[in-house]
Symmetry: C2
Amino acid sequence: MDKPFSIGVDLGGTNLRVASVTRDGRIIEKIKISSTGDIVNSLITCIDRVFSSDIKGIGLAIAGVIDVENKSITSCPNLRILEDMEIVKIISTRFNVPVFLENDAYVATLGESVAGVGRQFNSFVLLTLGTGIGGGVIYNKSPLKIAAELGHIIVEVGGRRCGCGSLGCLEAQASARAMVEIATEGIKGGRATVMMGHAGGQYHTVLPADIYKYALEGDTFAIEILKNAGRYLGAGIASFISIFSPQAVILTGGLTGAWDIYVQEAIKLASENSFKELFAKTQIIRSSLGDDAGLIGAACLTYSK
Amino acid sequence: MDKPFSIGVDLGGTNLRVASVTRDGRIIEKIKISSTGDIVNSLITCIDRVFSSDIKGIGLAIAGVIDVENKSITSCPNLRILEDMEIVKIISTRFNVPVFLENDAYVATLGESVAGVGRQFNSFVLLTLGTGIGGGVIYNKSPLKIAAELGHIIVEVGGRRCGCGSLGCLEAQASARAMVEIATEGIKGGRATVMMGHAGGQYHTVLPADIYKYALEGDTFAIEILKNAGRYLGAGIASFISIFSPQAVILTGGLTGAWDIYVQEAIKLASENSFKELFAKTQIIRSSLGDDAGLIGAACLTYSK
């Protein structure tokens, strides 16, 4: 079972990541390069390096809206160039194997269900907590083919403006990007915080990890930012529990690093704001695959059809 | 096809309702009586009146949390007496046909998909807008077997207290009960409104239909109540669109009578706060069956297994 079976490609992050994966969802070889420059050439070079005669197909994960039936990209805000490109055709012609295309949160969910901590559950909700917030839903062991734009539910009517144009999305209230913006706005507005002196006064360079560090050091504003964001995340988790009654909510992405404040506050709010019987049946846990979930899930696209 | 095939029972409302239904989901005979008094005796009497040798099964719809596998009622706040009763066993022993049990919003969704406006869609979200708010989700032509407590998503963190114990549920912010409470609180708090003089000063008897009537007559506070509730409903609808990307959101229940203010405000907010491509693909429409959806859906339980 150590032979590679398919290739997973994750174009969702700031890096282009490619891996050869076995039939049972284990990564054999993994490559990561920056996704700036000529993306198609980089992609072909990377795939070529892990390609072999054993490879039965290639799966591509994209951060954006995918038209799965037409194998085309409806919208890809971070890599606009892909929108006008028949990327599936280009790759399948070059490597002569079937090529599949899906949303990156969808494939992360699939990967987690095939090879991660999600294997033990018939149903779970995955949330990717980073610069943005995404997600997917496993129901009866398979991903639901729905938009699952879980980061864009409205948790605050008339709230903060989201990148998507709406007001008060979960992503606008609880993502890493939101926390950095709230920190910057607060400092500009005169909030007393040690973050003001970050990097010799370059407070606009503060990262989510910095906010967490300052919070651990006792900075009131930093704690407030993480807790408020956590409360909105908790509202989202409570809503997903009320809707899907999943066996688990699996959390992944950089913000899980702030588990002790951000995620704990979310769990507290969710526990107080969902049906007791449903909450009691839901495990809220960390992904076991991290970034690999997307690579494995993308590779799985080739054998889940 | 005009022969009765099964019986649907709806115990979800203030009345006990029973109907004989054809195999293709048409009601032949329908009975309605008050659900006070000895509920089991009333139930048996009503079923008996529409029962015949053609009847292949009976479906019961209950407003509460159902343990479908064990055919038992986990929680039924409006008819607590049913919680300690083996109602399925009682009815199946008495009539000697299979008896099924489901949540009332679930069966309304099933009914709408079998015999209502939902027939034309592969996927839709149904919302029952009344004293409380419930719902169900059709995916690939079948109801998702999830909690679908759509009225209990959190639309206002730290908002109004819901009957379920949470703060800021959709039901606590946008249901008929919420609107009446907000009206009463406002009048007590000194808000200028003609509702103060309702029924000769008996303002606590004001009904949602009265609030709508006063709003149409131009009462500012009545308009504000309906529009605010509508905005929260819109946040819910936007969230369901972002999650499920349904072909339709179907609205039913008494509050659809206030369509021009309440639902219109909801549609406006949802249109501004969901992905344009997803919103454009979603029809927001009225149920074609109204209260009959539950009866038909309950009857359908007998042949959807």
